[in-house]
Structures are given as C-alpha cells and as structure tokens.
Amino acid sequence: MKVSYYPGCTLKTKARNLEDTAIGALAVLGVELVELPRWNCCGAVTSLAQDDLLHMLAPVRDLIRAKEQGSDKLVTICSMCYNTLARANLLMRNDAEKRDALNRFMDEEPDYAGEVEVIHLLNFIRDEVGWDKLRAAVRRPLTGLRVAPYYGCTLVRPAEVAIEPAVDATVFEKFIEALGAQLVHNPGAFDCCGSYQILSHPKQALAASAELLGKAKNKGADVLALSCPLCDYNLGKRQNELVADHGLESKLPTIYFTQLLAVALGLDSSLCHFELNHEGTRSLLEERNLISTVAV
C-alpha cells in the first residue's frame, strides 16, 4: 500500500530519528510513505487572523502537490505540520470566499477545494494497519517499559482538527499497548510545553515543560512518547536545564512514537538515531534489553 507523505523541514534535519523510523517501520507494516514532490515548509503555525490569507498559501500548495499525485490522503508525522496542513485544508473545504481568493491568487496552480484528507500517522496506523495487525507484527514486545503518551497541543486542539477528541483520546494509548509496553496514565498528556516561546520566553517555556514532565514522572513513567520535534526539543534536549533550574526532580527520557514502533518491530537500532534524542533514551532501552548495546 502506498500513501502520500509530507515530511516537513525538521524531519529532514534535526528530527531524522522521527522520519527514518517512521519510513522503516511502515515498510515493515507493508506501507510505503511516498514523499510529496516539491513540498515546501507548511509555515509551522496557522494564521489566526481572518484577513491574513497570505500565510495560508504555503500549506495549501502542499495540499495541491498531494492532489497532483492523485492522492486522497496525505500522511504527516510532525504534530505542527499536521495541525497547519489540516487547518488550511478545512479552510479550503469550508470557506468558499477565501477558497476562491486563494485559488485566484495561485493562478498557476490547479484549483483546490480540500479534496485531500490530512491524516496524522497515529490515526493512519489505527485505521489502515489496525491494532491487531500491529500487535501481530511486534517482534520485540516492549514488556515492562512504562510509557506515558504525550499528545501536546497541536494533535488535539482546536477540536475541528483533533486526531481524536482530547478528553476521550485513546489512539496513543492503544498504540503503546499494542507494542507490548505498559501504559502509564499521563495527566499532562494535553499540556503545552511552551512551544516556540522557547526562543522568545525560554524561562516560561521551560517552566511549563518541567511541570508537565513532572506529572508523567510522578505516575512512574520510564519514558515519555511524543510526535512533535518542537516538544522533543523543549522536553528532551533542554531537559538538563529543567532539572537544574526549573524544579524537575529527576530526568525522564523522551522518545518519538515511531522509534518505539521501530524498536518493537525489531528494526536495527542504528535506524533510530538515538544520538538525536535525550541522552537517557538509548541507555534506558539498553538497560531493558530492548536494543543491543553498541559503541557510540
């Protein structure tokens, strides 16, 4: 099975661990992620101003690329790309006036009216692979690993693009259980990590990150699973600062959900690029004999 795939900027550089594991793991599950030709940056955040159509051009162009491929589905992995593309798609589907303005502005492009469906990889796995098939494909169950799911903001808000309604969301939980891991209820699963404010107000963003990591840690999580490279930066790569200056009592490794998937499917751990993760992630998995110890 082939499906159109939008990677986004960060997955090609600082989050290779997210992209490589997704492509590798999906191949094992019989799915080929076909990268869009000539994709561009989605803009990372959605314009919230009704009179600002210019910032809708970038995500809509990506959706047009998917339509040109003859696809009715576009899979994304990065949470921010998912949110931006899904919201632009809803605008094109539901607002005739703005759709016309955008289509006329891009007169070199074919008209677009929201024909493509934007799907986050977690939902794609739920709907197109299914939990039973996933469970059957697991070669190395993550037995005993206590995993807390972290949805963050952009997978669940606003409600019209939520991968599942936030209060009732179970897709991440079922994914973790299908891999044989022990699910940890995470009261901070939908909290904000501070997002892009890490650059302009780092103190406040780090405080928000420390608080939400503490919630998962207090529930006994070994590792926090996530799908957003920006969340991983705030929660994982900046974690030493959270412990030193923001009251986080002890470290909590972070891992992309696709890395958990790759490990459980028995893929070579070199594909996982754990060197791009929080420093404790690889050692945690080595301790639990989920990946073999290798010289770095």
Partner: protein, 152 residues
C-alpha cells in the same frame, strides 16, 4: 531575548495594579472594532469567568492575565492591553479556547492584538539576538513558528 520594543510592566497582576481610568473618553472604539474584525470574535461574549486564566500555562508571567486582557479589550483600553506582555507570551496552545464556556476563541483575539502592533512594523523578537547554540539545536518549527508569530 531582548524585546524589539519595551512594553513595560503597566500592571504586574490584577491585585496590585495601578489605578486605571475608565470613562467615555478612554474607550477606544476603533481598538475594539479592529480586534473584533481581525479575530472574527464577539468580545462581548466573554463573561469574565476566568477559565482561560486558570487554564493558561504561561499566565504566571503575564502582566495581565488572559481574562483581564479580555476585560480591558471590552473596555477599549488599547494602550494598557498593547503595553502588556500577555499577547507576546501566549504560545497559542488553544487550551483557553478548548475550555471557554462562552465559545470565545481567545487565541484569535491574542493574534489580533499582536497584529495591531506587528502591522506597524514593530517586532517583538529580534532573530539576531538568538544564541548560536540555540540556532544549531532548535528545530526549524520553533524558529519558523516564533518568527511568524512575533515579527512583522
């Protein structure tokens, strides 16, 4: 990071803020109209319950809480609202929007207030002030997101 302009701390919190004069002449109708126009929100819907402030992950460091920004925007206090750091510290996480019992899309109102400044070509962050290590390590999504929201 240094801000490109200095909003100052007009009020630290509701409890210890300076006295603010409100009368017919202080109500900036144009400000109310522009915020409602850009955000497509009816700001009068807000009933001041404070759910937004209680939900906001950044509220502790805001000059004015989200509820107070709503209140002062309803009163047309342009200078007080635009002088506070609130809209610049908002991370557009949409928690307030998800929980508002009156269906007010607060992130859109925050964006409208930001844009009233940004559209005067005033930046709230200066990309040149970023540390080299942060540029090396931060994901593109952080930079694109931050500069989209906080620069003209």
């Amino acid at each position: 990071m240094r801000h490109g302009f200095a909003p100052g701390r007009i009020c630290s919190h509701w409890e210890d803020q300076m006295r603010i004069l409100i009368n017919g002449r202080t109500v900036d109708e144009d400000f109310i109209e522009r915020v409602e126009e850009i955000s497509e929100q009816n700001i009068k819907r807000c009933m001041q319950c404070g759910t937004c402030s209680a939900s906001c992950p950044m509220e502790a460091d805001m000059d004015l809480s989200p509820r107070v920004v709503m209140h002062f925007t309803q009163m047309g206090l342009r200078d007080v609202v635009q002088g506070a750091n609130t809209v610049w510290i908002c991370a557009s996480c949409h928690t307030c929007e998800a929980r508002c019992p009156r269906g007010v899309d607060l992130p859109k109102i925050m964006e409208a207030i930001r844009l009233l400044t940004l559209r005067k070509n005033k930046d709230a962050v200066d990309p040149r002030q970023l540390e080299a290590t942060v540029i090396d390590e931060a994901p593109q999504a952080a930079m694109v997101g931050c500069f989209r929201k906080l620069t003209a």
